[in-house]
Amino acid sequence: GIQVEQSPPDLILQEGANSTLRCNFSDSVNNLQWFHQNPWGQLINLFYIPSGTKQNGRLSATTVATERYSLLYISSSQTTDSGVYFCAGGTSGSRLTFGEGTQLTVNP
């Protein structure tokens, strides 16, 4: 099955800083999603982004499908951005495979 590698595993920022999270896939995917799991355990879907670039407020994501990676950008980070960020990928109709996540801590 598809292997998903996320980096970095842990990231500590000061409020207001920018960051980039990366997700690499062992094989081609055409279903790629980014999630944020808040400290209470709720998983929030941030992006469905099998290719190209999308932006939602301070967050944006870019997927380069031909090179099997995706990036999540967080600008002007806030303490509420803390939590675990997961990427997940698969092919249409097949299961999503999740990475191990990036643990983000934003300090005031």
Partner: protein, 111 residues
């Protein structure tokens, strides 16, 4: 729009007991998923339903886990008998097509 509902939120049982979890997906979402998330790991798919048919249950431990989605709406996941290694958060998600939306999860502790 109401989100995915799950109950109970927490459950503590002893090993070899049985337990059931319930999920009500977002209205109109044809696809429903059950995931297991062990502490420190990403969610792992247990079973995927399309309406009331099973699409993928290849990672479901069928000797102890069962799931059903009657009438293509809500779903139940059952574990019988439970083992210590079943301690995890059980997440339900639904999707209209590809993008998945998760419920709050049920935290199961097996003693």
């Amino acid at each position: 729009e109401a989100g995915v509902a799950q109950s109970p939120r927490y459950k503590i049982i002893e090993k070899r007991q049985s337990v059931a979890f319930w999920c009500n997906p977002i209205s109109g979402h044809a696809t429903l998923y059950w995931y297991q998330q062990i502490l420190g790991q990403g969610p792992k798919l247990l079973i995927q339903f399309q309406n009331n048919g099973v699409v993928d249950d290849s990672q479901l431990p069928k000797d102890r886990f069962s799931a059903e989605r009657l009438k293509g709406v809500d779903s139940t996941l059952k574990i019988q008998p439970a083992k210590l290694e079943d301690s995890a958060v059980y997440l339900c998600a639904s999707s209209p097509l590809n993008q998945q939306f998760f419920g709050p999860g049920t935290r199961l502790t097996v003693l």
